[in-house]
Symmetry: C2
Subunit: 148 residues, 2 copies
Amino acid sequence: MTSRLEALCMEKGLKMTGQRRVISQVLSEADDHPDVEEVHRRAVQIDPRISIATVYRTMRLLEDAQVIERVDLGDGRARYEEATADHHHHLIDTRTGRIIEFASPELEAMKERIAHELGYKIVGHRLEIYGVPLDDAADCARDEEERP
Amino acid sequence: MTSRLEALCMEKGLKMTGQRRVISQVLSEADDHPDVEEVHRRAVQIDPRISIATVYRTMRLLEDAQVIERVDLGDGRARYEEATADHHHHLIDTRTGRIIEFASPELEAMKERIAHELGYKIVGHRLEIYGVPLDDAADCARDEEERP
DNA sequence: GTACTTGCAAACGTTTTGCGTGAAG
DNA sequence: CTTCACGCAAAACGTTTGCAAGTAC
């Protein structure tokens, strides 16, 4: 089967090998923000001959082709998500590590305005919010709950 | 002489040794965002017996005590600045690497509102804008077009 | 043949750590 | 004495790369 990302890669003129197809499939099926090791772990379950070096090389390839985007969530390793047309940001639940994506046109506009006032044109930006659930913030007794 | 940061450290009950005093002095005098190697370079000029390991250890100590703040500017190493009461962010000039600090109460409010709507209480956040000077932006666009 | 991709292991740059020495109370 | 800080070198970490072998055309 051809994955969504594989189709995108071919549109961009990338040569699709077996390994690249598997990695594309893994990334297509991911609805989280896996790091390279996690992508490798999942890829190996489909084809055990894939090395971590190939995953690193392929991730860079896909990033350069703007098929995926690197997300730096401040945990010291690169995480990835599919590239999207609309800009969005991440709210990271510091209790569970869960990542919530959000977008805000108002915020985009404000950030554009701030840069302009400083005499700059934006070429990129990054916003991350770290938070705890409002429910838990009041009631901290329930730390050891099961993860969904 | 007692530096600003050294006084702060003592308030927090940190034991101040010769090395820590020198590092505090270096950080007090810095008006940029030095990385650990840079701090070490400057510290060694005051006292050549300071090792990089001590700088790393002291930076973490000061960070934990909230005397300094780690800033991740996406260049793969940790940079630092004095901790401030007011939240501010960074605009990074991608041409020169120059870092401009800015604050926006409106932005703080909006970000607070967004988190609340998602059911979260903010415990931290980070915004970085990467940009090019408006004057150069025209040249930049032309360069891009000329490329094949 | 050429041109590219892969796996492996070694190297890389940043950061941490184990350990023996040293300084301070 | 005990306790903590230090310097050094080695290790750990995520990532990149040199190289020889493999694949596709």
